[in-house]
Symmetry: C2
């Protein structure tokens, strides 16, 4: 068909249909080889992986990666320092080994293989019908084996994990024995673990830094890391006397070499200006020896968590510190995570602040969105995903924001232990416009300040709606809002400029309506819950006999009852106005869930009209 098919002497092979088909498949195979070669040719160099995190507490597995937004793909480089008989690496909803999406390297003792696999609800491994972890290179080096592979954010294979903004739970498992096949791997017997990272780092161009920029390191003074799994270490630092107002314009972690797997997260807090001095403490934060006054050091200056990089303020703004009305005292808090209970490790990690005296046009500010810390917002026990919502209403932003609006450039989501998802959405004139920050795999154990992919402009009259999803399946009584670790919060600390007086824009259900709810539950269920006024709201929640009706009606109440607004200059001072029994913001148009972007499926025909030879259609 493709050749001259008549038999002339010395002719080229005549291809019959069957041969064409066979040739076709051969060519496809050839093409795949070319593809692999091509991909290997374009495999990024080692310096092309700007993000790095140790996977295991010993740091034997080190993951580096980069993000290509044009390609909608992540390139991973995994360094395996002490390779045994293979490795599992992958992602799952919350770090579990069941229902996980895995890249697997395994050896049967003679040969080695790489494949894209998934684990079912029982942890049994299966080869994936679509191979989406694409191996680009496997390379021996003195320090270990490097595996380079690529993964699209979205593969549209229902067995694959969808890589989204926010937290990603990475998992790893080490094969200590040869295995006959992928299916023979017993996942429950593996030595493995999980690591949380923000995989999709925002693709932000770094603002120009001024020439007069200085640095200051707030670091632990050669601390011996306690030989226990969890330590929060507190160290007090002090700015020089008479230190004038500066702008922090950037900060980055300083992690002692060798301790990369132990330093989990670090924060620098500024102390309250009302105290002239603070004691110079250096020790565990939960020690009885810790002076109480350190509790007044809570204003976040900088926060870092494992896997995060340098934090840059936008070029128009900086975080003010120093100068009159600002405390000279800083508290460094380091969370050491030492599950293997190493002894005698010394550490001098901390945060390096980059600051300038050439003040930028705007001071940056931090605002709290979400729910007021009050027990009236509660979660029934036994729920797998109960939703609470906190509002920053149009009335408050109308009053408190400048006409030119504010720009939110970073966000830190916060809940206590039951939190599973957090999202803040901007709504204008009743229509949801933009996601401010969303984490569908939120973990209370991984709270970092995240730069936003795009700066969000908020104007007077806009509404900011923060929704938290909780899991209380392991609890037997209601979880109420509050400060305790077993109580809950729903907060988004947004970093913005220019700074305004508005520090808190949060809500809670109207307490009178909640009282009606308790009443209703009482009557409807023929129950004798004490409604006596001296009984506290938590006690009333604890005495509710939970069933689907009481649960559903509480949901309906939270979705209907008016709210009490905290539109505050500080935690105690409200803006003037009526803030009780405010109507719930009404949303007439929701943002669409972004559907997974699939690679285009092979159309049976190309996307062009098919010309037909019908002559003129109309017969005259």
């Amino acid at each position: 068909r493709m050749q001259n098919s008549r038999s002339k002497p010395c002719s080229c092979p005549s291809l019959k249909m069957r041969e064409v088909a066979s040739m076709y498949f051969t060519m496809v195979a050839a093409f795949l080889v070319i593809l692999v070669v091509a991909l290997q040719g374009s495999a990024p160099r080692q310096s092309d992986f700007p993000y790095k995190v140790p996977l295991d507490p010993q740091g034997l597995l080190e993951l580096s990666w980069n993000v290509s937004y044009p390609e909608q793909a992540v390139h991973f480089q995994l360094l395996i320092r002490d390779l045994q008989f293979g490795l599992l690496f992958g992602m799952s909803d919350r770090g579990e080994f069941e229902n996980a999406d895995l890249a697997v390297l395994w050896s049967d003792g003679h040969n080695s293989y790489f494949g894209d696999a998934w684990s079912d609800a029982k942890g049994q491994l299966h080869m994936d019908s679509q191979q989406d972890y694409q191996l680009l290179e496997a390379r021996r080096a003195p320090e270990g084996l490097y595996l380079l592979f690529r993964r699209a954010f979205s593969t549209c294979d229902p067995k694959d994990y969808l890589i989204e903004d926010g937290t990603v739970h990475l998992i790893y498992g080490i094969l200590e024995k040869p295995v006959r096949s992928l299916q023979a791997i017993n996942i429950s017997a593996l030595h493995g673990g999980l690591q949380r990272v923000q995989l999709l780092k925002p693709n932000i161009s770094i603002p120009e830094l001024p020439s007069d920029m200085k640095t200051m390191e707030i670091t632990a003074p050669d601390v011996v890391i306690p030989s226990q799994e969890t330590t929060y270490w507190c160290y007090m630092a002090e700015l020089p006397e008479g230190f004038p107002k500066h702008h922090i314009i950037m900060y980055e972690p300083v992690v002692t070499a060798g301790n990369e797997a132990l330093v989990h997260h670090m924060e620098v807090f500024q102390c309250a200006a009302e105290f002239d001095s603070f004691p110079h403490y250096n020790g565990p934060c939960d020690s009885k020896m810790k002076p109480d006054r350190l509790n007044y050091c809570r204003h976040v200056l900088a926060a870092w968590a494992m896997g995060a990089q340098a934090f840059y303020y936008p070029e128009e703004a900086g975080l003010a510190f120093g100068g009159p009305g600002s405390s000279r005292y800083l508290r460094l808090e380091i969370h050491y995570h030492n599950p293997l209970v190493f002894k005698g490790r010394h550490d001098s990690s901390g945060i390096r602040l980059y600051y300038t005296a050439s003040l930028r046009p705007y001071d940056a500010g931090i605002m709290e969105l979400g729910l007021v810390y009050t027990p009236v917002m509660a979660i029934p026990p036994g729920e797998d995903s109960f939703i609470l919502t906190g509002y920053c209403t149009d009335k408050c932003t109308q009053l408190a924001l400048p006409a030119a609006g504010i720009r939110i450039f970073a966000s830190q989501l916060h809940t206590h232990l039951a939190g599973r998802k957090v999202v803040t959405v901007l709504s204008r004139e009743g229509r949801e416009r933009q996601v401010v920050n969303a984490d569908g795999h939120y973990s209370p154990h991984f709270q970092e300040i995240r730069m936003l992919k795009e700066v969000v402009a908020v104007f007077p009259g806009d509404e900011l709606i923060t929704t938290c999803t909780y899991n209380t399946e392991d609890r037997s009584r209601a979880t109420v809002g509050g400060f305790g670790i077993l109580e809950e919060m729903c907060v988004n600390y947004v970093h913005y400029y220019p700074q305004t007086q508005l520090e808190l824009c949060k809500s809670a259900v109207d307490p009178g309506y909640l009282h009606r709810y308790f009443n209703l539950v009482n009557r409807f269920n023929d129950e004798e819950i004490c409604m006596c006024p001296q009984v506290s709201v938590p006690q009333q929640f604890y005495s509710i006999p939970w069933n689907t009706f009481n649960r559903d009606v509480l949901k309906s109440l939270y979705g209907f009852a008016p709210i009490s607004m905290h539109c505050n200059k500080s935690s105690a001072v409200r803006f003037p106005g009526e803030w009780e029994k405010q109507p719930l913001p009404s949303i007439t148009e929701r943002l669409r869930e972004p559907g997974p972007r699939c690679p285009p499926a092979p159309g049976p025909q190309p996307a062009a009209p098919v010309p037909l030879n019908l002559g003129q259609l109309r017969r005259d």
Copy 2:
């Protein structure tokens, strides 16, 4: 390229890498051509389209089709008798022209084109990026133009309609002028319409028919179809005196040639045995002249709707008629749909019954599942999809079904005007096992008896749960359950064998709990709804001030409150037992939504492990 590329005399081509790639693409193109040819070669013959329906009231557009379950595809043959400048044909959720999935044939006055398109929410047409209506043939014939095309049930293109079991709303539009392009078509100006069909006819093998089979035609006696859009015609027929018990084992429509587009649906009812005789009426069913006694002719013997084919009973069963205890009188009801108001059309359509005196092993029976006809089950106004559920509980089936169970082989879903979806699911030991019948695009204007794809076995202790979804967006007051056309029903008439005494297995919420709900609404909303006992349930529903809370709490009530069961031998006689305040069946495991089956996406690599040349992994 496929030829000798260097100029040596008579050598065979040496293929360089680049040439291989180019060759690859040429081959792919060649392969596609072969594919298209192959499809055309396998294009079904005209006799291969067993199902046929006129699309328009004049019958100028005639659709035939077949269903291939192995291919998961439908082949359409569209006959266009009077082609002008093209045609739109497609599918949409409920027959609207917005958000529709369309195959379009159009002419610019010179050339004709065919393409797969979709319309957006404003009715603007777009070419589909994936062409899933595959044109197989376009052929002129004396009677018109035949278009043959193929469409997979599921294409995984989010713009495409998913072809599912149950009702499909087909739409058509006629292009009366040439158009420059697909995008230039103004959908709102088209002459067009909709036609409802069950596209995915079950693939049932036809049972063997006995040699002594006889036929009886129950047909209209040369009726002149009234020149009005809607007529229900009633005609009384009579079985011969002393007609013994027979089994109806099959029936089929008899439609007068030329009236295919006017005869919308037909039913044959048997009259009540308690009356010795019935008047011989022949006229409109809503005429004042119609004798009241005809209201006692309600036992369905046969039902047909446009697009349906012959109905076969399973070979073990037949529908009993004739013999003692059975009325000799039958009522034929024909719905004429005459929107173009044709005058003077004569019609002798009806139903041909096939019956046998050689009784089959089992009598077939009909059972009503779903909700009791009572106002306690109500739908708030302004809802786009409010759900009500009726239960046939384990306790009732335990009591009423034989140990060997029953077999459901056909089903007719029924609601009034607000019904949008109906589904019945079989649950056993709290786990949903099987869908009995589901229609996600249910229309109250298209209620046919449908043979099930698979016979469903129901055993004592099983539960049958029927769920209806309603739309009341156009209503300003609550819609309560009841017999009126503006009241609602939620019923599945299931056809089964062997016949049992159980005729009704339906539920409604406990009236006491509903009373508590009215009470709660009263108190919670500070409203003065008259709770006086003399006020009827509908009046109480009508006086509720509807808001999200009252709506949500009603939903919660229906999902929580105990039920009153009708486990009845006939509409008035209950089985012995306690049927009030019964617990709602609890479901611990739901059936999974069947995900759309997509054609496999092209994996970047084949689904096999990639062998690596790493030597032995472990270095000893």
